[in-house]
């Protein structure tokens, strides 16, 4: 398994760079992960990240944009503004979770 050093700590990642062990993640790490992909986290970002983390614990899989909007109450439009271009993947990365598997 590949490891990488982020913020002076070693974490396990897959070959794309996504964290594979959600327990190695904390909010400080999220800030660094976001910075690495050019995103400065605001309260709105945090709301999405926290929903994704909580939902992952409850569901065992990463929520899709559809689920974040209908269950998490954050509109799809907002998600595209917060995490431009590839919101589902970028959000999953910052939240230290796998990419979502669902189609919609």
């Amino acid at each position: 398994m590949t490891t990488t050093t982020i913020d002076g700590r070693t974490v396990h990642v897959n070959d794309e760079g996504f964290l594979v062990d959600p327990s190695e993640w904390d909010e400080q790490l999220a800030t660094t992960l976001a910075t690495q992909i050019g995103i400065t986290l605001t309260d709105e970002h945090w709301r999405a990240i926290r929903f994704l983390r909580d939902d992952y614990v409850a569901q065992g899989e990463t929520a899709t944009l559809r689920r974040i909007s209908t269950v998490g109450g954050i509109p799809v439009k907002t998600l595209f503004q917060l995490f431009p271009q590839k919101p589902a993947k970028k959000l999953a990365y910052v939240a230290g979770l796998p990419k979502p598997h669902g189609c919609v």
Binding site: T4, G17, Q85, K86, K89
Partner: protein, 169 residues
């Protein structure tokens, strides 16, 4: 095996501006044939791909306010249901099959057609209506889903989607 990377491994989310474009022509008005275009458009937008949908012929039912929420699925002529074709012709069969398909789709958390179109627009997708279909069905912009950007000719659509990958459904 453990590999130690010195520089942090960061996923490649592609360039900030991608030139990739996708054009999807939706020509069918059945419930089951509405979804492939919607799902693929949604997926493309989620990958940062500029996406345009062109609704033509029976695909107009997907954006006609009167029909878009009421598309149907029929077993008739569809051998993939693996049921005797005669069954599909019985009274009430299309209604039953449609109800069942809607339920299956909703249970998966997938939106109905009008809501799906809204999600596509919210994700930055573009909806276009075919001029000839509008003329044939005597419909104008007021009859169409509000988020449709315009009724345009086939050549306008080809022009707008220059360089795009194209899907005909």
């Amino acid at each position: 095996m453990t590999t130690l990377e010195t520089a942090p491994l960061i996923p490649d989310f592609g360039a900030a501006q991608t030139t990739r474009k996708l054009a999807i022509i939706c020509s069918k008005g059945n419930l089951d044939m509405a979804y492939p275009g919607l799902v693929l458009a949604n997926a493309a937008l989620g990958e940062g791909v500029e996406t345009h949908l062109f609704f033509t012929f029976w695909g107009f039912d997907m954006i006609n306010k009167k029909t878009m929420g009421d598309l149907k699925f029929t077993m008739l002529g569809n051998t993939a249901t693996h049921l005797p074709q005669g069954l599909g012709g019985l009274p009430g069969m299309t209604a039953m099959a449609t109800h069942q398909m809607r339920k299956t789709i909703a249970d998966l958390g997938i939106p109905d057609v009008p809501e799906f179109l809204q999600q596509i627009v919210d994700s930055g997708g573009h909806l276009w209506a075919c001029r000839m279909s509008a003329d044939m069905q005597r419909l104008d912009e007021d009859d169409l889903y509000d988020e449709v950007e315009g009724i345009i000719s086939a050549s306008d659509f080809i022009e707008k989607t220059e360089g795009a990958q194209l899907l005909f459904i």
